[in-house]
Every structure is written in C-alpha cells, then in structure tokens.
C-alpha cells in the first residue's frame, strides 16, 4: 500500500496568528468598557472608524503588493493596530485624525516595511506619534472623566458621532465647558507653573491613587494583561521590566523631592502605562526577541517613559519611548543571543 509523505513533525499545535490576535482583542475589552464608562461613547466611534480604515488600507496595500487578501486581511493584526491607536486618541477627536493616523500606521509603518512580521516600529505608535507632532492641540483635548464632581452636560451617542464627524459641538455645548486636560498633562502644566504637588493634586481630576477614571482604565488593562500572561500569549519579561523600571524611576525622584515629583503608583496607573506594558511594548515583531533582550528593551521603555513624562515636552511618553526602543532592537538582539547548549560562551 502506498502513502503520501510529509516532513516531520507530523503534529503541530493548532495555534494561528489570527487566533492570537483575537485573544489580544478580547483582552482589550475590559479597557474599552471602562473607558466608555468614564469618557462616553466616543471611543466606540473612534474604534469603528479606525478598524474600517485599517481594513480598507490593509486591503489596498495587500492588493498593491499582490498578496492574498484572504490570508492576510483575516489575520487580525490590522484590527489590533486600529484598536490600540483608537485607545490613545481623545474621544471627541475629529474623524480625519483617526483615519489619517490609522492609514499612516498601516500603509507606512506596516506595509512599506514588508507587512505583518516585518515592521520595525510598532505601527499604532507610529500612527499616534505622527498625529501628536502634527496636531498637538487636537490630541490634548481630552474630556473630564464622568464622576459626580466633574459631571458636565453629557453628549449622547448621536451627538458624539456628529461631533466626531463634523468637528462641531452641538449648539448647547462649548469646547471650553466640556474639555479637560488629562491628569498627566494637568500635573505637568501645574508643576511647570510653580505649584507644589499638593496644590496640583487639589484638582478633582486626581483620584485615590492616579487620575480619576484613568486609574480604573489602567486597572482594567492590567486585568486584560494578566489574562494574556495566563494564556501564554505574552511573557512576563516585558510588562514586568517596563512597569518595574517606571516604578523605580518614579520612586527615586519621589524620594528625592515628593513635592515636585509624582509617586510610582500615580505613574503606574496613569496614561498609557498599563496599555504600553501589556499590549504595546509586547508587540513581538517590533520588540527584542530573547528573554534577556526583552528585559533590556522594556526597561528602556520604562525609563524613557518616565523621562519624557517628567522632563519632556509631551504629557505622556509611552509612544515615543516604545519607538525609540524599537530603534534599539537590532542592537539589543545582537548582544543578547543566549548561550547555546554545549558552548561555554554566548556567541
């Protein structure tokens, strides 16, 4: 009797890239839910716009590169990029911001470098960085969290959609009345104006241990991140090293002058700390690849995030920190090759 042949191994895990991406998307759902609770339905509309743009530009790029749409459009990587970018944008940002940022991320940061698996930089962070340097005013226009002390007149879902699509608020609203800086931004501005930490913290946007709303978003992201760890989609090295180095930097400066520097808990629960540690820096394609390399890479992101937040010109530093460390990945990879079995030294 004759049989077909095949190269071993004859069994492999039934894991695929699209399954991995689907799990990452599910793990982002707690973050999205808490975000919507505190900042309204804007994120949902931004996400839909981002995903639609990502899929459209991905299809275009695949078509131009003569790649299989069926194979690559369904891999879920574009959707993850879109969601991560949408999470970084102000909920009421005009539509063209999210559309152009996502298009840039997919077309330039991803496909110009060779598509999935080939991107040197994290596409979502490239999209965000381009928007931040091009349209800083729009990106810093955040809403106050929906808590009793800060409650303003709320926009309905329809009003939110209209605002995003037209760039105009409904008649009864003014931008001044409904916007507020993020806690990280407010802290930086207030400290720059000479206030002490206590004075700066008197604003109702600061909560128990972080910024109002933001602390809960970061905790939700932490839960999603722990789920990714438990499901072995990511490894502990990157989140632990990034959050650890951020906390160490914050602790040192806080110990030196608690009146001028925010403490580690505030840093860990503010801005994109958790999102960066569990969902952005862990993008394996643009991260260092060995265990030791990942520790170095993520520690660098933590230090740079703290540095940019504290002394830089931007309120949050995660995006630039990730991009800078992406740049260092080939160097890190070269010097962190593990020792091979039977060899006395590392190559």
């Amino acid at each position: 009797m004759r049989f077909p042949t095949a190269a071993p191994p004859h069994v492999v895990v039934p894991q695929t890239v699209s399954k991995v991406m689907r799990i990452v998307i599910y793990a982002l759902l707690p973050t999205i839910a808490v975000h919507v609770v505190f900042f309204g339905p804007g994120l949902l509309i931004q996400s839909i716009l981002a995903i639609a743009t990502a899929l459209a530009t991905e299809a275009l790029a695949l078509h131009l590169r003569k790649k299989s749409l069926q194979q690559y459009l369904t891999d879920g990587t574009a959707i993850v990029t879109a969601l991560l970018l949408a999470l970084c944008l102000p909920p009421l940002a005009p539509w063209w911001l999210v559309v152009s940022g996502t298009a840039f991320a997919i077309l330039v940061a991803k496909h110009a470098f060779g598509g999935v698996g080939m991107n040197v930089f994290n596409p979502a962070m490239v999209g965000y960085a381009v928007l931040l340097v091009s349209f800083p005013a729009q990106l810093l226009t955040w809403l106050p969290p929906d808590v009793p002390e800060l409650r303003t007149e709320q926009l309905s879902f329809l009003q939110t959609a209209t605002t995003i699509l037209t760039g105009q608020l409904p008649d009864a609203f003014t931008w001044d009345a409904i916007t507020s800086p993020t806690p990280l931004d407010a802290l930086r501005t207030n400290l720059a104006m000479g206030m002490t930490m206590q004075e700066a913290h008197a604003s109702p946007i600061f909560g128990g241990f972080g910024g109002r709303g933001w602390e809960w978003i970061n905790l939700a992201t932490l839960i999603g991140g722990i789920a990714l760890l438990a499901l072995r989609i990511i490894r502990w090295q990157i989140p632990v090293a990034m959050l650890g180095s951020l906390a160490v930097c914050a602790s040192i400066m806080y110990a030196i002058d608690p009146g001028a520097y925010a403490g580690p808990v505030f840093h860990l629960t503010s801005g994109a700390s958790m999102l960066g540690a569990f969902f952005i820096a862990t993008d394996p394609v643009s991260a260092a690849t060995s265990d030791r390399g990942r520790l170095i890479y993520a520690s660098g992101i933590g230090v740079l995030t703290y540095t940019i937040r504290t002394w830089g010109g931007y309120p949050d530093g995660v995006a630039f920190a990730v991009l800078l460390m992406n740049l260092a990945v080939p160097l890190i990879d070269r010097y962190t090759v593990p020792r091979i079995y039977g060899h006395a030294k590392r190559p």
């Binding site: 004859h10 492999v12 894991q15 991995v20 091979i340 060899h343």
Partner: protein, 486 residues
C-alpha cells in the same frame, strides 16, 4: 523533581503509549522473504560475504564491516540467498539500497559457531569490545550507530560513567518501556557487560517518570545482581529528554561540548535496547537478528509490541496486527515528532526500526497555511539546544551563512519542538535541514582556506628563517676571513 539548569526547553506531549502497552511483547512470524539493506547502520555500508545461491542459517554472518565505522550483518532466518540487489529501503526514504534477500526455508536452522560466554569478566575489555562488534550490535535508539565504534571511542576516557538510555520521549514509541518491563535482566546484564568493556565505574539507567513499572522491574533486577554500581534514575517526561545530550544534562546537570562527544566529559550513553541486544549476544550467542518494534496508531486495528526479525516487510507486521483501519492516512517509522513518513509499506524492518505508526487524522495535526514569523519567541522557549529559531529562520531565508553559524544552526538537533509550537505554522525543521548542508560546505571551505593560509604562512616563515640563517653563516665566514686578514 527539579531539572538541572542545563536541561531546559522541551515539550510536555501526549504520550499515546497506553494502547501499545496493554499486551505483553508478542513474537512476529518469521518472514517468508527477508530483505536486509547493507546500509542499515551509520557509517559505511557492510560488504556481503555470501553469494546468491548460498544457504544460510539463523545468526550466520552474511556481511562484514566495510571500515572502522560499520557493522556486521547476520541472517535473521534460515534459507537461501536469492538476490543481492537494490531494494526499496527505509534507510533511503523508500528509494532502493543494496540489500541481501533471503528466502525462508522454514526450517529455523541455527548457526552453530556462535559461542555463548557465561563469564564475560574472564575476557579482556578490548577482547570483549571486539566480540560485541562481531554481534552486529548497533545503537537501537534510532541512530543505529555501530556500538563497537562508540565503545572504542569511549574506552579512551578514564573511569567513565555508563548511561543507559531508557528515556523514550517520543510519543507512540513504547518498545524500550516494554523491554525494561519484561526483560529487565537482559538490560541489567547488558549494562554489566558494557561496564566491563568500558571499565566504567558506575552506571545509571535513566528512564522517564511515565514508566513506573519499567523502573520497578529494573530496580528488582538490579537488586538480584551483586553489582552495587548500577542505579536507576527517573527523569521528567519532557520531549526530547531522551536525546543523548539532553539526557546527560538532565541526569548529570552537565553539557556535552558542542564540538565534542559524551566521552569527552567521561560519559558513555547507550540505549536500553542496545544493552539488551549486547546481553543476548554475549550471554546466549545470539547476534542482532531481531528487535522489538512498536506497531500503533489509529490506522491499525491492534496496537502492540512485537519482537520482529530484521528484514520483515512492514506490510506483514500490519497484517499481523489486524490490518489497516479505513481511517489510515500516513505511515510513519518512528514517532510523530521525528519519524519519517514512508511512501510504501513494502519495505523491511531494519535495526533502527523502533516504531511503526499507521496514523489517522486523529494521530496527526497537520500544518495550516504558513504566515510570516511574528517573533513571538515560543520556539526559543522550547528549544532544548537554547537556540533562537526565530532568528535562524530569518538567516536561513536570507541564506546568511555567517548569521546561521553565529546563531548555532549546527547545534540544532531537529527535534521539532520549535515547529510544533509555531503560531505562524512555519516548517522550521525542514528549513533548517535544507540550510545545514549549505552551511557545512561553507564552513569546510573556510576551514580549508584557513588551513591553506596557515600552511602558506608557515612555509614563508620557514623560508625566511632559512634565508636568515644562511645570511648569518655567510656573515660569520666573512667576519672570520676579515679577522684572518687582520
């Protein structure tokens, strides 16, 4: 049990061994025609010492070793040599290999000149090693490396430790577990013979923790010998802990140097099957003419372990096990991780045939469509050689030979762990196997060039030295002449 720092990586796989270990080891019927490829061991193919038309008896030598690394081959059945010609062989992925073909006369005549040695301690170690070589003994773990060559290499180490490998880590294969369970005395006696042949001081028989009955049987057999230098060590069931280098790391916490062999660190590793075959040859005078083969998989009606004469067609073994089920899809020799897919069952059992898996869709998990590598690093986490397969993949794609060397392509043992866990479904082992010969050629050419340069430099230096000496002598003469003039 905590594994040493040197034993890392690997996979916990489903064993699939229950079905084939329910019944005791059976005896397969002798084949009506035995086909014996001459290249069924590592090294040079054996050379026939019989001619077509000759009559042979069981255990009679029919081919002799060609070179240092080669092995004897003996007739597994009595009968007439009907052909010495190329036949489809598992040794060449079912392509033809020169084979001796014997027709069975059904008389089961035994060759008379084989001697049984009751007291092997009366032999000099060197004499004993040579005797083992004459039994056609090769490594039965799968590589079929001639045991004599391994013993000679090992005898150069002083006071070595003998490691008997019973860690049968690949799924489906259970022939070693059954051997240890049912014939522990053969294994222990073989270990004692090998210890004497090597002048080994101690012996460790290592097996995995999923074979407790085998461990108990071995312990009982050891207790019955006066030899207190043999012990059983249980290692965790982690694929590929049965790999020689991985097992040494797991048992002794030491690594074999990448450019060396186990004897370099004073350890000699032989499979349990090899030890038992050695015992049967030395004690009973029966050379290696049969072996235990596991026949299993959802594609065969009955799973079992059979003692099979070499040269028996695989189709006959399947028939003895009730034939194929309608679900059969692929025929494997070896396990599902490293086994070779056979294109036909009209090939014969050789010394290296440890297992036949008639696989159905239930046994296989085929690869899905390949995606680009996303550098997730799952492969590096499971690599028992501590390589970075994700980086090797990049260099293999770019044919960057320096990169492949630096990242240790030659240290890859092709266990398939990286392949198994890859979410991008990349056939990594296949790619690495393709790249290896290219890198080997490159390294050889570089070494040759380096040797040539070294030779040239030495020659130049030698010529310069001669010239300088000549000049010095000339000057000396001139000076003496001048002195005379003065």
């Amino acid at each position: 049990m905590v594994r040493g720092s040197s034993a890392r990586g690997g996979l916990r796989l489903e064993a699939h061994k229950e079905r084939s270990t329910r019944d005791p080891i059976g005896m397969a019927a002798a084949p009506s025609t035995a086909v014996l490829p001459l290249d069924q061991h590592a090294g040079g193919a054996a050379v026939p010492i019989v001619a077509v038309g000759d009559t042979v008896a069981i255990g009679q030598p029919i081919a002799e070793p060609a070179a240092d690394t080669s092995a004897w081959l003996h007739a597994p059945i009595s009968g007439r040599i009907v052909a010495i010609e190329p036949r489809a062989s598992v040794t060449r992925a079912c392509a033809p290999a020169l084979s001796i073909v014997i027709d069975n006369d059904g008389r089961e005549m035994r060759h008379s000149s084989a001697r049984a040695i009751e007291d092997f301690l009366s032999l000099e170690p060197r004499e004993l090693r040579e005797h083992i070589g004459r039994g056609g003994i090769v490594g039965l773990g799968g590589a079929a490396f001639p045991t004599l060559a391994k013993l000679e290499r090992g005898a150069q180490a002083s006071a070595p430790t003998l490691l008997i490998n019973g860690a049968e880590c690949e799924p489906y294969i259970s022939c070693d577990a059954m051997l240890m369970r049912e014939r522990p005395h053969d294994v222990v006696h073989g270990a004692r013979i090998l210890m004497h042949a090597l002048q080994a001081q101690e012996c460790v028989i290592a097996l995995e923790d999923d074979a407790p009955r085998a461990a108990d049987a071995l312990r009982a057999a050891i207790a019955q010998t006066e030899n207190g230098r043999i012990r059983v060590q249980v290692v965790p069931t982690i694929y590929p802990s049965g790999g020689e280098r991985q097992l040494i790391a797991s048992v002794f916490g030491r690594e074999v140097p990448f450019d060396g062999l186990p004897p370099d660190i004073g350890i000699l590793c032989h499979n349990v099957g090899t030890a038992a075959a050695t015992a049967r040859w030395v004690r009973d005078g029966e050379p290696l003419v049969s072996r235990i083969v596991t026949i299993t998989g959802d594609g065969v009606a009955r799973a079992c372990n059979l003692e099979v004469r070499l040269g028996t067609p695989i189709s006959q073994l399947i028939a003895e096990c009730g034939g194929y089920t309608p679900r059969v899809e692929r025929l494997l020799m070896g396990g599902t991780m490293m086994g070779m897919a056979l294109s036909t069952d009209e090939v014969a059992v050789v010394k290296a045939t440890n297992c036949i898996v008639a696989a159905s869709a239930l046994d296989l998990e085929p690869r899905r469509r390949e995606m680009p590598c996303i550098r997730c690093g799952n492969c590096a986490e499971v690599c028992p050689a501590f390589l970075l397969p994700q980086q090797l993949h990049v260099y293999a794609r770019a044919t960057d030979l320096d990169g492949l060397e630096r990242y240790g392509l030659m240290d890859c043992i092709e266990c398939g762990c990286c392949d198994y866990v890859c979410p991008s479904q990349i056939p990594l082992v296949e790619r690495f196997r393709e790249a290896k010969p290219r890198l080997a050629t490159h390294l050889l050419a570089r070494d040759n060039a380096r040797a040539a340069r070294l030779r040239f430099e030495e020659r130049t230096a030698r010529l310069q030295r001669l010239e300088a000496e000549q000049r010095q002598r000339l000057e000396e003469k001139r000076r003496q002449a001048r002195r005379k003039d003065a």
